[in-house]
Amino acid sequence: MMRNVTTRVLNRKMTPMEKFLLAIMAIYIVIVASQSPKFFSLETAFDLARNGSGAMILALGCLIVLISGGLDVSFTAIAIVGGYSSVLLSRALGVDNLLFIVAGAVIIGALLGSINAVIIHFFQLSTLIATLGTASVFHGAMVILLGSKTFTRADVPQSMLDFGAFSIFTIKEENSQYGLTIFFPIVIAVGVLTWFLLYRTMIGRSVFAVGSDPESASRIGINILRTRLFVYMYVGALSGLMGIIYFSGLAYINPAALVGTELGVIAAVVIGGAKLTGGEGTILGTVLGVVLWQLFQNTLVHLGLSSSFNDLFFGAVLVFMLGFIYLRQRQANKRALVFTSN
């Protein structure tokens, strides 16, 4: 049975988007590697894994929201609020335990997510506008209630410092040493969990159903409120987890960080083929989208370009890919005489 599932997952045909992304990525890697031999090394890959793990976790949450037909822009605010309040709580109680801190952040994140779900469901708001509002309320309320003090290395809980510096294995070279961060297996675990929830549970299937057509979904007996609660609480919980990973990785706690980067994450997920109209999106596509984004963010230096060019490259690829995806759909619609306002 298990083997059956694995082969089915591995033999799944790639979507055109995924193939396209792989092609772009391959071309980019070949160009960069030919310009700078140092690029093609385990060290670069490990660096990328370290820098990209936070974004990957957020992106997986964002994917679920997009599949459910929504657009959440509050997850970075939730990540900061969850992470920061949990760290403050652990400092206040004097509990320097990583599990406690993570659990705190995840619970706070899920609670904030449920607020989003309730507002979206009962006011029937556009998810973008609702979460735009809640993001500034969450973040503003946190700063006002808890302050906006930053913590440097000396004040960060020791368990988080250990967590951020921990590597599952290290490679020693003559004058340098680098390791694969502990974040990497966590991201893999979150990916597998998300896959399992989406494709192997009732609630996951109902996320697809609600995203495709809420009306039909509710007529076949799917509880839309419960589905939405699951979607936004899951995103909130992942965001809380990401907040801790983010602070641990930096060994510096700044409550003003991260907020404002949410559109980059959404763009990475969209590049991976998730559609705004809901019901569509793959985990592999999301992973590829985030990797491409992180490649641009972290490796343009190898081409001798400054970080000022990050957005230019990513934006250009994003606009191009969006045009490509939707032009195909437009042509398909034209052939099938489908007249929709998407």
Binding site: L71, I119, F122, F123, Q124, L125, S126, L128, I129, A130, L132, G133, T134, A135, S136, V137, H139, G140, A141, V143, I144, S148, P214, E215, G260, L263, G264, I266, A267, V270, L276, T277, S306, S308, F309, N310, D311, L312, F313, F314, G315, A316, L318, V319, L322, G323, I325, Y326, L327, Q329, R330, N333, F339, T340, S341, N342
Partner: protein, 348 residues
């Protein structure tokens, strides 16, 4: 008097908005008095509202055609950077003789860049059928990227002293930039209410498919609308650089949330087809008065954000209940005929 009531009754959003605005102004006047409502205070408020007003109007136009434009601030940033570069003396040396020409060139550059950003948005949305949120999300990152790549993220200072006069000079008691904003609002309002194009904009927002079947070239309507948005963005950029006398990418990022807020506050429907420029003007006044008094009360930017976010959700929620009459009525489609008959029978 009867006529007034008739007029107010025709547009509920306008009457609610007008009432709330008047109430807020009266309350704040009693609390702050002349601190807020002196000639100087009013002038500085009207200057502040000018740079933001163009962006809000641009966002409103996007919502009329069932879209949203997340790229307005980024596009204004790019237009501003291009114009600031023209007027920085880096490429064209500035002498006292050619200062006027340089200023004209800078204004033209800002408007052209704005127009081009709008046309690109319009092309992606109309010709490639990319949903507006995604299209403008992509171009937002792209425009920011172009701006950052050109300037390496640093601020560009203007070297034409007389250009700043645009922000300081007045027409009678009114600041010059505010007159510009007023004129733009009137023109856009006339275009929307008095021209065929304006009709088509509203029709498209109301029902895109029906518009296509009635023989209107709907793609051209979209392209035109986003072109106008682009010009408005260029105007915003001109006001911004005149006021700040410099420009950097990322300026005014908080305007994006506020622009969406003020447009929704004015009764525009994000699903398209509904919204009046007059209401937008009143909503802008309301927002600016609240914003200035929050500054007078020494609110932190975070506290301001809570207020904006809270108002946004409250207004959207209220609109939902007001429009639907009864909650939930909007979501469920009217029961089909067979269901209605079955319902009727079960009642007997």
């Amino acid at each position: 008097m009867n006529k007034v009531f008739k007029f107010l009754g025709r547009d509920r959003d306008l009457s609610i908005l007008g009432f709330v605005t008047t109430a807020v102004i009266v309350v704040l006047y009693l609390m702050l008095g002349s601190r807020l409502f002196s000639i100087g205070g009013l002038q500085s408020m009207s200057i502040q509202v000018s740079e933001f007003g163009f962006l809000a109007l641009a966002m409103g136009l996007a919502m009329l055609v069932a879209g949203i434009d997340l790229s307005v601030v980024a596009a204004a940033g790019l237009s501003g950077v291009m114009a600031a570069l023209t007027m920085s003396g880096e490429f064209i040396p500035i002498t006292p003789e050619n200062e006027t020409q340089i200023i004209i060139l800078g204004v033209v550059v800002a408007l052209t860049t704005g127009l081009l950003t709008g046309l690109l948005n319009g092309f992606i949305i109309a010709k490639l059928s990319v949903p507006p949120i995604l299209a403008t999300l992509g171009t937002m990152i792209l425009y920011t990227g172009i701006g950052t790549a050109i300037t390496s993220g640093s601020s560009i200072s203007l070297k034409v002293p007389s250009f700043a006069k645009l922000a300081t000079s007045t027409v009678g008691p009114l600041p010059m930039v505010f007159v510009m904003l007023l004129a733009t609002f009137i023109i856009v309002s006339l275009i929307l209410t008095r021209t065929r194009f304006g009709r088509k904009v509203y029709l498209f927002g109301e029902n895109e498919v029906a518009v296509r079947f009635s023989g209107i070239k709907s793609e051209r309507v979209i392209l035109m609308t986003y072109a106008i948005i682009g010009i408005l963005v260029g105007l915003a950029a001109i006001v911004i650089i005149a006021r700040a006398n410099s420009m950097r990418v990322g300026f005014g990022e908080s305007y994006l949330l506020q622009a969406i807020l003020v447009v929704v506050l004015a009764g525009f429907n994000p699903l398209g087809g509904k919204g009046r420029v007059l209401n937008l003007g009143i909503a802008l006044v309301l927002l600016q008065v609240i914003s200035t008094s929050m500054t007078a009360f020494a609110f932190s930017p975070y506290a301001k954000n809570i207020v904006w976010g809270g108002i946004l959700i409250a207004v959207m929620g209220m609109n939902h209940y007001l429009r639907a009459g009864a909650p939930r009525a909007r979501r469920q489609e009217p029961p089909s005929e067979t269901v209605a008959i079955a319902l009727e029978q079960s009642r007997r």
